[in-house]
Symmetry: C2
Subunit: 337 residues, 2 copies
């Protein structure tokens, strides 16, 4: 079996860390692993399969000899190095939003549009975390009854703001318990005991950049260019699992049991829907796992083409790191890596 | 000015406490105040206008001589004493859900349907907390462009489970920060760092009792018997302000500026909608206040008859105690107390 030289760009962050764990857990065929980050993190060491690997400063020539680069850095870093990665002839699987809507860049959730990797020209984009979780939750429904539009309210964990968001949350728990004033840095406002109805920046239509991702990226992932998604994104005081309350408007009326059956067989998805026994997805139960959990399925009271559900998924793993590794695995399977 | 003999039934709870404060703050014309509760709380003392008042055990004859009883007890206690209160010829303003859907009982949010108090037969019901907050947020819109249906996702504070819910939350902040396991009692699951997508009990249609309140009570408050509300109620780790993400389907298309103008003049409502300056309602800013705060107004991307907004309001005050006192004030104004 072929083995690959892999680099993680942005290895010291929350997603980079999770990529490292996922590569090890999934026994990804690695010949050499390079950990790249900013100068600030260079020299630090991380464990991989029992060995210490030192983080190197990411530079133009860091990618020479790489087969695969997993991007866990922000848009500006991603754009800065994308050309160097392509010049080195490595496949770049990028978790930033820099290239997601580029026509020449596949945007992939392997359980949904895995074969799109075949169209890559050196870059494959990893979708937004809430978009991955939402798309996994609804794809089995979409296959049997096309989704026309969705109204979504998110409950997004602090891990979406990276390690600094998670640390701020943890420290604020103490501050708030002890009654001390808190000085937010990672977030614009205190997050413990609060909700912040803004993620990303505001656009002219009144939605945020984060809110528009579910429509724009969802269209591309689901191959559904006319999908409309009306989304409200809210940061909540939860560590690392995102939750979504979704109402789908479907092309046709439907049988709820048939929808549940489809979801119970859906890849990457786990149906937890036993309300009488108080079983439904919750962030605490779904953290640090790779499946998206779906429950609270019920017929919308307003419209017989509509369906309401609730889903949760780990933002760092399936929402980012694990999906990226799964894209790489799909490329190996389809022989385009 | 006439003064009244007032009793608070369930005085020792979170809502009872807030009723006591609101009576004092609003300078309600009181001749005598009786604090009633279960045997467990009897003998404790509470402060009112500088005087200590001892809580008495609520009994059948506790209401003799009362003009007004403010109910802050649960459904079973409310039903137990309703007849005694009526026999004493007192007006009963009840915060429980026991009588809300009774045809002979007005269900009132004074800013919306205050004149309904005129139809009382001894009982006036105070609506569900999320329903009050949601109805205040949308009423000014409904007046100029009738609401046909709403899709709502709630973010409900722990205060909805009373003092025991608030205490559990506060103690859990410490347990979670220190990494200790937590043993939930007031809630079915840990609430700090988690979300619980169940409030109330499940019905056959897959919705919870709490979720159906916004449709059933909303119809009665808004005098809109054909209103449909598809609601998802979620408990979140926030102390006392409920938040709602709402998408309204209106009878007609609309001008967003006109809607904003109507909301800026709406009674009980405060428009906080300046996204470029990161100003929108948040639980922390809206706690311990009587207005409902509305923001994030924008045109739904799926339908030009639809509008999306975000609102927050204090669950204990406007969501319960203050609304009850405002009902009593309306009865005085309309001379039916």
């Amino acid at each position: 079996m072929k083995k690959y030289t892999v680099a993680i760009l942005g290895a010291s962050g929350a997603v980079g860390n999770a990529m490292l764990s996922a590569l090890e857990e999934r026994n990804f065929p690695i010949k050499e692993l390079r950990l790249l980050a900013s100068e600030r993190s260079a020299g630090k060491k991380m464990m991989f399969c029992g060995n210490e690997i030192e983080i190197q400063k990411a530079e133009s020539n860091s990618f020479i000899g790489c087969d695969l680069v997993l991007g866990a850095a922000d848009n500006s870093i991603s754009k800065q190095f994308a050309h160097d990665i392509q010049k080195a002839n490595a496949l770049y699987i990028d978790n930033s939003s820099a290239f997601r809507l580029d026509d020449h860049v596949p945007l992939v959730v392997p359980e949904i549009n895995g074969e799109d990797v075949l169209n890559h020209h050196g870059i494959i984009a990893n979708p937004n975390c809430s978009t991955i979780i939402g798309c996994i939750a609804v794809y089995a429904i979409h296959k049997i009854n096309p989704i026309q539009s969705m109204i979504v309210s998110t409950y997004q964990a602090v891990s979406g703001a990276g390690i600094k968001g998670m640390e701020e949350y943890q420290n604020q728990l103490k501050d708030v318990y002890e009654g001390h004033p808190s000085s937010p840095k990672a977030f614009d406002y205190q997050i413990v005991g609060n909700l912040i109805p803004q993620i990303g920046s505001f656009l002219d239509n009144g939605f945020t950049s984060e809110e528009m991702k579910m429509q724009n990226e969802g269209r591309k992932i689901l191959h559904n260019p006319h999908l409309f998604v009306n989304c409200t994104c809210v940061r909540v005081p939860v560590l690392r699992s995102h939750s979504l309350s979704m109402t789908l408007h479907l092309k046709n009326t439907y049988d709820l049991d048939e929808i549940k059956k489809a979801l119970s067989h859906a890849k990457g998805c786990q149906l937890v829907d036993d309300p009488q026994n108080k079983l439904y997805p919750m962030p605490l139960d779904t953290s640090n796992q790779d499946n998206v959990y779906v429950g609270r399925l019920r017929k919308d009271l307003c419209n017989d083409h509509s369906l309401t559900l609730w889903c949760c998924g780990d933002q760092i793993r399936k929402g980012a790191a694990v999906n990226a590794i799964q894209i790489a695995e799909k490329c190996i399977e389809l022989q385009c890596l």
